[in-house]
């Protein structure tokens, strides 16, 4: 299944993914357990329910915040960034 593995960006790192793999699965396979910091207490969060129900795994993908990393399939060249708070930092730019 991994003969056509590809790369995407996570902050300043390269992550390898297989076709059909979600962003969350590829990040976990790459050794990353969290990609968001919470709004109230600035705590790290990553995957929890894995099926789109809990919204813990929210992440910014190609400048769009609040994507569920457990549902979105990774695409070659994606720019995935750690999401801070409510993910509205881009509004300040």
């Amino acid at each position: 299944m991994n003969d056509t593995a590809f790369q995407f960006h996570f902050d300043d790192q390269q992550i390898s993914a297989e076709p059909g793999q979600t962003v969350a699965a590829a990040l976990i396979a790459g050794g990353h357990l969290w990609w968001r910091r919470t709004r109230v207490h600035d705590r790290p969060r990553g995957l929890f329910c894995g099926i789109g129900v809990c919204f813990d795994c929210l992440v910014t993908i190609n400048d769009r915040p609040n994507r569920r990393a457990c549902l979105v399939e990774a695409q070659p060249g994606d720019q995935v960034s750690t999401q801070l708070g409510a993910g509205r930092a881009h509004l300040a730019n």
């Binding site: 099926i51 789109g52 809990c54």
Partner: protein
Amino acid sequence: MPTSQTDPGYDIAVVGAGPAGLAAATSAANSGARVALIDSGARVGGQYWRHRRGDDIRHQHRWKEFRRLRGNLDHRRALIDYLPEHFVWHVERTGSGFSTHATCGDAERVVDSRAVVVATGAYDRQLPFPGWTLPGVFTAGAVQGLLKGQGVLAGRRVGVAGTGPFLLAVAAGLAEAGATVVGVFEAGLPTGFARHPLAVLANPGKVAEGAGYLRILARHRVPCHPRTGVIAAHASPSGDSVHGVTVARLDRDWRPVPGTDRRIDCDTVAVGYGFVPQIEIPLQLGCDTRLDVDDSLVAVVDDRQRSTVPGVFIAGEACGVGGAVLSVLEGELAGLHAAHLTGAGVPDPARVRRLARRRAAQRSFATAMHQAFPVAAGWSSWLDDDTVICRCEEVPASAVTRAVDQLGATDPRAVKLFARPGMGLCQGRMCGFATAGLVADRLGRTVTAEDLRGMSSRPIAQPITLGTLAAGPRGGRVS
């Protein structure tokens, strides 16, 4: 262009393409009904048959049954429009039936139909404990999904905790895939189901499945600890991952037995205390709900899988958690009866009787399992004041108990308004059961159906952007 309300595009809209929804859609189409099969996933199968492209059958169960259902779906594509990656956020009654509102990417789609089959499944039920928000703590279903659907091991040293037979399946899958399972920590007493010999004898297949998992765990020397709970997870020095857990023997009420605490090193925890049925749509439509044997809020159905709202059928976990085999039977019955309601002939009585008999056997097994693996109220003694109850709004246990003790809240809905548990993006899906349990425990009573209804009502079941709403729907049949 939305279809007009006097000419619904479909006979039946089936929401969910897991075991129940696949069975419903295909049995309805086999009876001649025009069906829209709407699902949030990219492929049919739901969570139970979650898979990547192709037929990778590693870690799968009853794959033959899945291939049969998928084959039926392919065979009936002239009558079934399959809509993948559609997130249903609202279903409403119209003059002649129902409008099912879904988002797909940035677009909204409205599916009009004369009947609806709700087959939305369930997700892992969670009980909070200190450290459960640390990265590395996952639901048992998430760990299973990573393995089955993604080919990824969640961690190297895994503790599996919670209650119910699903833990065995998850632990066995992890061990087979090469993880070190440091233990299965079952809060209940797994021998309890021996008190229901008739239900057990009627389901030799399920007993054999459980025995198979136990054999795998024995082969990999995975220790199984009954009446034991993971009562805390501990952070690594960086604070960003799990470093270990505290486990303790539990008494009958699930309070830790003093002096039995011990620390176990692990990098991952997979936890689940049964399942929460997804019943947003039945609640939106005004269907009656009830408290099931496992303390889940479920939709009320009759022997034809009809809810209390005419035209709305429910199949699978949404009308009572019972597993994939039961879901397929309920789905098939729902599909047959929904097709009949929308114009197909009377379903073959012999077939209906046969399905109903098998449904009864599966249901009695599920009931025996629920009675053998109850959640006991003493779990609240695991909490510290600052243990997060609501992961979204980061509400600590102390805020929930303060709302009861000092602000006079007498039900979880009032607590939600005072302290915000359940007010975040997941809308109480993760913390609803625990909040209701904690509040009831504080008030010295048990959880009621009304408590859970107060934490389960979600008029908008999926996040939808204002832009998508403003752009308006696309409707009608999809080719």
